[in-house]
């Protein structure tokens, strides 16, 4: 007798059909909440500019304080590397797939970039001539600094370029208009520079500057730079390959950005207590060296040959000990957390100890990224040696120790070898 029927409790209550409509309405509302912002990001409506005007604005704007989230996506056509799953946030993950970074910069000489893993982080903090890297996975900090003499020279140099200070030969420095014109003229020697339809990046209207190489021999189809319409700061760079017209092979751009000065606590860094800290002294190159290292300085170091021109340039390095580089410093690639093997019986444990690599204190270090195996996996054997071929760059390592690098198809490299 206590059976209840599906009849509504009161005459004014909605019918069963009306009740079942409620989840339907909720589903539609959820779908709309997801879909509407995606549809709303239509093309921006901005006044037309020429490439030269756009470059002038960028040159005028200069560096500014910025903080935001950057998503980096590489579709280089390389074999899948499960690096991030193995080691957490690791710079090696940038070889393929998608990574999220967070960026803070005060627009001058202090900045922080953090590569985010699910529950890990790899940070690079720069303060003038000093820099720190910190990996949360192995709780390890590396401090890069100049020695005292170089630091004094750096400070003197920094003082000279500080705004307000008198710049020697300041009258000779080009104005932003001249710099933009020079840059444009240089780029147009072997590429077409155009302005594409405006777009929206990180919710901001942006112009798109397109550089398309006129050279057919290169793998690069075009480079697209999205420039913020308001602040003229670059918001996104895409590199498209000729082989893949669907999606850019390399894309790095803000998904969220604010042009405000970051908090001082973010830009400050000191090695956390208990972390392993490594000190690295970086030599500051002498002034003549710096000039030689600049592109277009004309001289190339010994053992380096350049053939071709423009976008299809092939650089050949001679006498490189690739095997040594590859087989060498595997330890620097980090250990894999949680991978140590522990077995019940002592005999079994001893057996494992025989095979598991250990560090100086006899602790199991866990399996390491085998760079030799990584190299074998990334490259393929060809008659000339080993070839790494991606959608944007080809690298050929020959048996006689030469390394050929170029943004050209693999066959062109093999022909050159």
């Amino acid at each position: 007798m206590a059976e209840t029927t599906p009849r509504p409790p009161s005459p004014r209550a909605p019918s069963p059909r009306a009740r079942w409509a409620v989840p339907g309405v909720v589903a539609v509302a959820v779908a709309a909440a997801v879909g509407v912002p995606a549809l709303a990001s239509a093309d921006a409506d901005l006044p037309d500019v020429t490439a030269e005007q756009l470059l002038t604005r960028v040159a005028e704007a200069g560096p500014a304080p910025v903080q935001g989230t950057v998503v980096y996506t590489a579709r280089l056509g390389l074999p899948e590397l499960p690096v991030s799953e193995m080691t957490g946030a690791d710079p090696l993950a940038l070889l393929g797939g998608s990574s999220t970074l967070r960026v803070w910069s005060d627009g001058a000489d202090r900045s922080r970039v953090s590569l985010l893993g699910a529950t890990s982080e790899y940070s690079v903090v720069r303060d003038g001539a000093e820099a720190w890297t910190y990996s949360s996975t192995d709780d390890e900090a590396v401090h890069y600094a100049l020695d005292a003499a170089d630091q004094a020279r750096y400070d003197a140099l920094a003082e000279r370029v500080r705004p307000g200070a008198e710049v020697p030969g300041g009258a000779d420095l080009p104005t932003p208009e001249q710099a933009a014109a020079q840059l444009l003229a240089h780029a147009e020697e072997d590429a077409d520079v155009t302005v594409d339809r405006p777009t929206t990046v990180a919710g901001r209207d942006a112009y798109q500057l397109v550089v398309s190489p006129t050279d057919d021999a290169t793998l690069v189809s075009r480079v697209v730079v999205a420039v913020d319409a308001e602040t003229s700061a670059p918001l996104r760079v895409q590199v498209w390959a000729t082989q893949d017209g669907e999606a850019p092979s390399l894309e790095v751009g803000f998904t969220d950005v604010a042009f405000t000065a970051p908090d001082d606590t973010v830009l400050a860094f000191s090695a956390p207590a208990g972390a392993t800290t490594e000190e690295v002294v970086v030599p500051l190159p002498d002034a003549p060296d710096a000039a030689a290292a600049l592109p277009g300085a004309g001289t190339v170091p010994e053992g380096v040959a350049v053939s071709g021109s423009g976008w299809s340039t092939v650089v050949t390095l001679s006498d490189v000990d690739v095997a040594g580089l590859v087989g060498g410093d595997a330890a620097s690639l980090g250990t894999v957390p949680g991978a140590e093997r522990l077995l019940g019986s002592e005999e079994a444990q001893d057996l494992i100890q025989e095979f598991v690599p250990q560090d100086d204190e006899g602790r199991p270090t866990g399996p390491q990224l085998d760079t030799g195996a990584l190299y074998d996996q990334l490259t393929t054997a060809v008659p000339e040696g080993r070839l790494l071929s991606s959608t944007l760059l080809s690298v050929l390592v020959t048996e006689d120790g030469r390394v050929l690098v170029g943004s050209v198809p693999a066959d062109a490299l093999r022909a050159a070898a």
Binding site: T5, P6, P9, V26, W104, S114, Y134, D139, G338
Partner: protein, 289 residues
């Protein structure tokens, strides 16, 4: 007899909020007083105790500082025992407990044959379902708190509480560290609300409580599996479990509340969808047992 005719002129009907609270109190007493649920909570509280004891015993051996994320930091700072224990419980143990509590909510009564008697009482089905949902949510919160509070106590006893080194390498004072860990606990608890709604919906579908419990746990596991397949990356942001580990955001130098808000918005969407499905099913179903 229909639900509408059930009240044979109730003598003095209590005002709605009072009646609601009275119903909730009896439901909470039922859920939290059930021996099975108490054992579940005790089992969850045992995780940080075990973890802390193992880490305390091995801290001077060659094995210290090893383990998945956060576990290595526990010996240096007891606060991390809360984070490490939640990290270990989140993939399976917590969903299991949530599944048992929420899957049992309606199906348990139906299975035991008490649901039809409950419906004879002049209580609208909507109110009954709301009370069941709130009780399941309270149990979920208790489950997370059981892990967190024992983690804090055991961690403080074994290793002490110290300044917290964030994932970004910055160090914050212990007071702020406690606040950040409290944020993690709150985020983890709120992350489980979607699963509670799913469990409640399954619970209204069947009279076999074990079926609803198993289905809820399976949903959590399938969601995790889908989340690990790059081929379906398009649906990842909407998956129930995708944002669960975003609690790590609280351990970054600048907490991005946008990321956390996204995770909570996904949970809200699951709650709205499966909550309304459960409501539609429960208020229209033929309840015969």
């Amino acid at each position: 007899m229909s639900l509408a005719e059930a009240p044979a002129a109730p003598p003095v009907p209590a005002p709605a909020p009072v009646a609601w609270l009275r119903l909730l109190r009896s439901e909470l007493r039922l859920v939290l007083g059930r021996r099975r649920n108490q054992v579940l909570l005790a089992g969850l509280a045992l995780v940080p105790v075990l973890l802390g004891t193992v880490l305390a015993l091995t801290r001077d051996s060659a094995l210290s500082g090893q383990g998945p994320s956060f576990v290595g930091q526990v010996t240096g700072n007891g606060l991390f025992l809360v984070v490490a224990a939640l990290f270990l419980c989140l993939p399976f143990l917590l969903p299991l407990c949530i599944g048992i509590a929420s899957g049992d909510a309606v199906a348990g009564e139906a299975g035991a044959g008490t649901l039809r008697y409950l419906l004879v009482v002049p209580v609208p089905r909507t109110r009954l379902l709301t009370v069941k949902a709130v009780a399941a949510l309270v149990f979920a919160a208790c489950a997370v708190l059981a892990v967190a509070v024992t983690g804090l106590v055991v961690g403080a006893l074994y290793f002490g509480l110290h300044d917290v080194t964030l994932l970004s390498g910055s160090t914050v004072p212990v007071g702020e560290g406690v606040l950040r860990v409290a944020g993690i606990v709150a985020y983890v608890a709120l992350s489980l609300t979607g699963l509670v709604a799913v469990g409640l919906f399954f619970s209204t579908l069947t009279e076999v409580p074990v079926g609803a419990m198993a289905a809820t746990v399976v949903v959590a596991i399938v969601s995790t599996v889908l989340d690990s397949l790059p081929q379906v990356s398009a649906i990842h942001p909407g998956l129930l479990t995708h944002h669960w580990f975003d609690f790590a955001e609280f351990l970054r130098v600048q907490v991005d509340y946008g990321v956390l808000g996204q995770g909570l918005a996904v949970q809200a969407a699951w709650v709205a969808l499966f909550g309304s499905l459960a409501w539609a099913r429960f208020t229209t179903a033929d309840i015969t047992s």
